[in-house]
């Protein structure tokens, strides 16, 4: 049985790569596991401190800073996952040249596994968020499960982009180095630290369709407001994700024939 050119053996291999990646990143060194938890927490802590206590930002219409922090984290957590996924998958092929040159497998699996590694910071930030929510008095509710479709679509979308970047990085090695800067720009130009309403009116209309905005809202609506995300936004995200994934896959497959001499 083949889906998009992958069969069961490929699925097993993907799991293997994922396990390998997790072990290398988190279990390889003494502090690895600690860092997996501490790093996201540290980043979230810093931003919490800066925005809640230094700038004393508040959501329009809200009283406490805690609610702002919760709002912030619910968008920043997925962002951490996204940037981690992109960084890992961009370097997935070039960083595993030994495997590519000596094992017969579909090279696409490497960036896909790299992208899935983003699940770790996502899990950490979700736990942190849940803790904050409980602290603020919100009771857990079934609507929280509504983040699952968004989660899946997020990974599909990011994997597509990751596949593109991974292929380009083989030929233009600077890609991996430029990526963190690009992500930084994207971060501050997205409604993650500041709500959509704070942007100039002219831009708001366009920014509504920003994928990261849609994803962030997809987390915020269920977790903060117990509402299902707007159907149109889910549909839009779905279409975007599938297009990105298919496009990335096709692009990667086209270029992978040329990898041999560059790896």
């Amino acid at each position: 049985m083949q889906i998009l050119g992958f069969d069961r053996a490929d699925a097993r291999r993907l799991l293997n790569f994922l396990r390998m990646g997790l072990r290398d990143r988190f279990l390889g060194s003494t502090l690895g596991l600690v860092w997996a938890v501490a790093n996201p927490l540290l980043m979230m802590g810093i931003f919490t401190f800066v925005f809640a206590f230094v700038f004393r930002s508040r959501l329009p219409g809200a009283e406490t800073s805690l609610s702002f922090v919760i709002w912030l984290i619910s968008g920043y957590g997925p962002w951490l996952a996204i940037s981690d996924s992109l960084a890992t998958s961009t370097g997935a092929v070039t960083g595993n040249s030994g495997l590519v040159k000596n094992l017969a497998f579909k090279t696409e699996l490497l960036p896909i596994a790299g992208s899935l590694m983003g699940l770790v910071p996502l899990a950490v930030s979700t736990c942190y968020l849940v803790a904050l929510l409980v602290l603020s008095g919100t009771r857990p509710s079934l609507s929280w499960l509504a983040i699952l479709p968004v989660l899946v679509l997020q990974f599909v979308f990011i994997t597509g982009i990751g596949l593109c970047l991974a292929a380009v990085n083989v030929f233009v090695r600077d890609t991996a180095m430029v990526l963190p800067n690009v992500l930084m720009i994207l971060l501050f130009s997205s409604p993650i630290f500041y709500p959509l309403s704070e942007f100039p009116k002219a831009v708001q209309g366009v920014l509504q369709f920003h994928p990261f905005q849609v994803i962030a809202e997809g987390y915020r609506q269920p977790l903060l407001y117990r509402a299902w995300p707007a159907p149109w936004s889910l549909a839009y995200l779905a279409v975007l994700s599938v297009m990105a994934f298919l496009g990335g896959l096709v692009f990667f497959r086209k270029l992978k024939g040329y990898f041999d001499a560059r790896i």
Partner: protein
């Protein structure tokens, strides 16, 4: 004589991380707390070199041989100045160029040609100096069109050639090579040998570590044998390599022979049919023997006991040589119709015995149809007073060779 390299009383100890029942962090914690139990052990000490002393003069080509882990690479590392001895002193007078790890200095994304230029620059040659010899260098590498491909695409043999070429043309005063030549093929080895001889004729020193004893004999004027960190021989390459080879062969043979003897242990299904003993002997002396001589008549005796006479009982005898060659497989049923019954002694005469020298195992199997009821065997050796001219055949058969003028009645 002015020595260029002097090594005196050098000992090198290494620490090796060990694995233990507890994770590393826990073990270091325990050690900090003063626990001295084995479980808290952190490192093992390994003596890589043990009181080694020798000197090398100008123009010498020295080969270093020894088994894995004997300390050869460690010695080169010390000579290169990459590591320091734990005890003793290493004095090196001259510029050392070492190729210690294959391709370490090669930049993977540059082409072979670019790497040659880069390397020359690093060694302090100007661009024009390199330009003058670049064509000869490329010719020496014998890489053809590959010289303009990125080094990433090279096989290990090609990398070895490139690295070696670069080293040789730099004309180092002291050249240390650690197994970097083994990857090259037959023709390149010959070229390399010539290049090394030329270098040494100009007064340079070359020290070479290799497992390829042939190349050591071809290339070197002197050979050091390291065993377990100790210098056990220092002299003419053909003699030292021969002694080394002999020692390795002896040990391997002893190991294989020991394993060989433990195979084919006696076994029986039940006491209704079993083999008591298998022995061999020669007609010249009574009784069993474990060593037979080529050409003398010999026998194999199998003592067995069968309670019930069955039609499909059979005795199978096979003889196998140490290296696995099955020399014969015979069955009792072929030659006799007497059924095997009761306590019987069956003898197979080898008249003449044509087995060549070697270590053999004869195994007797009591069969019921095709399934085995019991088995037993014995190991014996065959020796010869002289070797045959032209090789060691498995069987020494008495041939009769005659030569007659050809009758002119060819059609």
């Amino acid at each position: 004589m002015s020595y260029r390299i002097r090594v005196e009383g050098v000992t090198k100890r290494y620490e090796l991380a060990t694995s233990g029942p507890l994770p590393r962090a826990a073990r270091s914690l325990l050690r900090l707390l003063g626990v001295r139990h084995r479980a808290a052990r952190g490192v093992d000490h390994k003596v890589a070199l043990d009181d080694v002393s020798f000197s090398v003069a100008e123009g010498e080509r020295v080969g270093i041989i020894g088994e894995n882990g004997a300390g050869k690479s460690t010695l080169l590392h010390l000579l290169a100045g990459v590591a320091a001895p734990t005890n003793g002193s290493v004095e090196v007078d001259g510029r050392v160029h070492a190729a210690l790890t294959l391709g370490l200095a090669l930049r993977e994304d540059l082409t072979g040609r670019e790497n040659l230029y880069l390397d020359a620059e690093v060694q302090g040659r100007t661009r024009s100096e390199t330009d003058a010899v670049i064509d000869r260098m490329i010719g020496f590498t014998d890489l053809g069109d590959f010289i303009d491909q990125p080094v990433r695409t090279y096989s290990s043999g090609m990398k070895a050639r490139l690295a070696f070429t670069s080293l040789v043309f730099v004309e180092p005063e002291i050249l240390l090579l650690d197994e970097t030549l083994s990857a090259g093929d037959y023709w390149f080895s010959q070229k390399a040998t010539r290049a090394v001889r030329e270098l040494c004729s100009k007064g340079r020193i070359v020290m070479l570590v290799s497992h390829d004893l042939e190349s050591i004999v071809n290339m070197c004027s002197r050979c050091l044998w390291l065993d377990g960190g100790r210098l056990v021989a220092d002299g003419d390459p053909s003699q030292v390599t021969a002694a080394y080879r002999e020692r390795v062969r002896e040990r391997d043979e002893a190991e294989t022979a020991a394993k060989f003897s433990t195979l084919g242990q006696a076994w029986m299904l039940d006491s209704a049919a079993w083999i008591k003993r298998v022995t061999v002997g020669s007609s010249r002396r009574p009784g069993a023997a474990s060593v037979l001589s080529v050409g003398e008549d010999a026998w194999i005796r199998v003592e067995l006991s069968v309670d019930q006479v069955r039609d499909d009982h059979d005795l199978r005898l096979w003889v196998e040589r140490l290296d696995g060659l099955r020399v014969t497989e015979n069955r009792w049923s072929e030659s006799s119709v007497n059924p095997l019954a009761g306590r019987v002694e069956v003898v197979a005469d080898m008249v003449p015995m044509i087995l060549g020298p070697g270590l053999y195992r004869v195994q007797a199997e009591l069969l019921n149809g095709e399934s085995m009821l019991a088995t037993a065997g014995v190991v014996f050796k065959v020796v010869a007073e002289r070797n045959l001219v032209g090789g060691q055949p498995a069987l020494w058969v008495p041939f009769e060779v005659s030569c007659r003028p050809r009758v002119a009645a060819e059609r």
